[in-house]
């Protein structure tokens, strides 16, 4: 049985067009490749 109140909590306000710029800037673009490079760099530092 669906609980209306619980289901309603899953719906969030949609981003408006004015807020798009801020959303783009705040987006975390870190990917697996960045992590790998970071790990490689840190491991090299640790080896030295």
């Amino acid at each position: 049985m669906i609980n209306f109140e619980e289901e309603l909590k899953k719906f969030h306000p949609s981003l408006e067009v004015e807020d798009a710029e801020e959303a783009i800037y705040n987006q975390d673009l870190t990917d697996m490749a960045d992590l790998m490079v970071k790990i490689v760099k840190e491991s090299k530092k640790a080896g030295e």
Binding site: F4, L8, S14, E16, V17, A20, I24, T30, M32
Partner: protein, 473 residues
């Protein structure tokens, strides 16, 4: 594929030919990203947009520079009605690859049409407002707002889902299912949609466990018994009984129908018919009144005309002569003219006719024509002196003979036709005096004194008048 350290294009080797960096792991990551992109593309092609979003986001988690995956993710977001999310992806994509990027076309498509952009913004604001209404328990307003949102953007899956959730909450299962079906047409594998749909289907369709129980119940409603070697299965409720019940229900239904017709429909019809008849009666009555008024008016006019006719007939009868064709005065004048033309010496006859004309003119009290008056005056002028002379002679003859009774009318006429004949007037007075009509005699004497003063007749008249007055005293 380029080296993450120096940016040089990588070869098939697991190291960079330019800087010597180990790129085996890096290549592996890029391959995984591409695999997720391919998976997302496949899912999007079969409208599994939720699955596509998941795969494409995974792809970007591995390689943020996968522009194709980002562009496709934007496109999928756009298809689900998440326009701002789509724009965000396309803008990032354009920044990663400014040239030869299809994201540029997508952005231009939205930004060049200001109306479209405004509509998108309004849609989002209304959706947010609807969500606020939901949180404030104003569910009816939320439904109205969501309907507006979907009229502006029919592909907005989250709006469809929220509306379906509201319908589910109000137990409007059919409507909820309709919204969820629309969701599935856009995104075939949305988890929330499928979950809601399952709930709705359970409410709409009978439970699977119920059917057998009904069968069992049916089986319980039969009577089984053995007849020899055969097992007889007989329903508890006989068909005949059902038929009778049906007929009874039919009869009751008919009776109710007839009662409704008799008590509800028939009075209304009768009242409507009465109203129609009353209306017609009123119109006929109005017409009748109008005609009666016209008849009264015409009768009044007829009475007036009859009265006028009678008056005119009387007038005409008065005007008509003995032959019934000419006026009496005219007839007499014509006779006078005829008598004069026959014998101009017979002035007495002519005078008789003229006197008759005079008399009739007085009776008729009407003005005669100019020709009538001219003829009358002409005749009178022609015979007047002769008539006066004739009357004077006859009068004086009678006077001297002592026949005063004959003398009086002749002398009167003699003076009438000759006003200068003072002697005739004086002898007229004497005649009255002799026959004893003192008052008449005195009147005539006064007339003589007045009309012929300073004459012998006047002096004598004074003397006679004095004698008469003295005699009275």
């Amino acid at each position: 594929m380029i080296c993450y350290r120096c940016g040089c294009t990588l070869s098939e080797h697991d190291f960079c030919t330019n800087c010597g960096a180990d790129v085996a792991l890096y290549k592996r990551i890029i391959y995984i990203s591409n695999r997720f992109y391919n998976d997302g593309l496949e899912r999007a092609s079969v409208r599994d947009l939720t699955g596509a979003i998941t795969s494409l986001r995974q792809s970007l988690k591995f390689d943020k520079n996968n522009v194709e995956a980002r562009n496709l993710l934007g496109l999928v977001y756009f298809e689900t009605g998440e326009v701002v999310a789509a724009l965000s992806e396309w803008v990032i994509s354009k920044n990663l690859r400014p040239k030869k990027n299809i994201a540029d076309d997508y952005i231009s498509m939205i930004q060049t049409n200001q109306n479209r952009l405004d509509t998108i913004n309004q849609t989002i604001k209304k959706y947010n407002q609807a969500l606020t209404y939901c949180n404030q328990d104003s569910l009816d307003l939320a439904v109205i707002q969501l309907k507006k949102v979907l009229s502006l953007n029919p592909k907005f899956i989250r709006a469809h889902q929220l509306l379906a959730l509201l319908y589910i909450n109000s137990e409007e299962w059919e409507r909820a299912k309709r919204e969820l079906t629309k969701c599935l047409e856009i995104d075939t594998n949305n988890t929330a949609t499928l979950r809601y749909l399952k709930e709705v289907d359970e409410m709409l369709l009978p439970e699977e466990g119920v059917k057998p129980s009904k069968k069992q119940k049916k089986s319980e409603e039969v009577v089984k018994y053995q007849s020899g070697n055969e097992t007889i299965i007989q329903p508890v409720n006989m068909k005949e009984g059902r038929g009778v019940t049906s007929l009874l229900n039919l009869g009751i239904g008919l009776a109710i129908g007839i009662a409704i017709a008799f008590f509800l429909i028939l009075p209304a019809r009768i009242q409507a018919a009465k109203a129609g008849i009353d209306e017609q009666l009123r119109k006929v009555s109005e017409q009748s009144d109008t005609k009666t008024a016209t008849i009264n008016e015409l009768e009044q006019q007829l009475a007036e005309l009859q009265a006028q006719n009678e008056t005119l007939q009387q007038d005409v009868a008065a005007y008509m002569g003995q032959d019934g064709s000419t006026l009496q005065s005219v007839e007499s004048l014509m006779k006078a003219a005829g008598a004069y033309l026959t014998d101009d010496e017979d002035v007495v006859t002519v005078m008789d006719y003229l006197e008759q004309v005079e008399k009739e003119k007085a009776e008729e009290e009407n003005e005669n024509s100019e020709a009538f008056d001219t003829l009358y005056n002409t005749l009178l002028a022609l015979i007047g002196p002769q008539v006066a002379e004739s009357y004077d002679k006859d009068g004086h003859d009678a006077f001297w003979a002592g026949n005063y009774a004959d003398a009086i009318p002749n002398l009167e006429k003699a003076f009438l036709y000759d006003a200068t004949n003072g002697q005739a007037l004086f002898d007229l007075g004497n005649s009255y005096n002799r026959i004893g009509e003192k008052e008449k005699a005195k009147e005539i004497y006064r007339q003589v004194i007045e009309l012929f003063p300073n004459t012998e007749k006047a002096e004598k008249s004074k003397n006679f008048l004095a004698e008469l007055e003295d005699a009275e005293e």
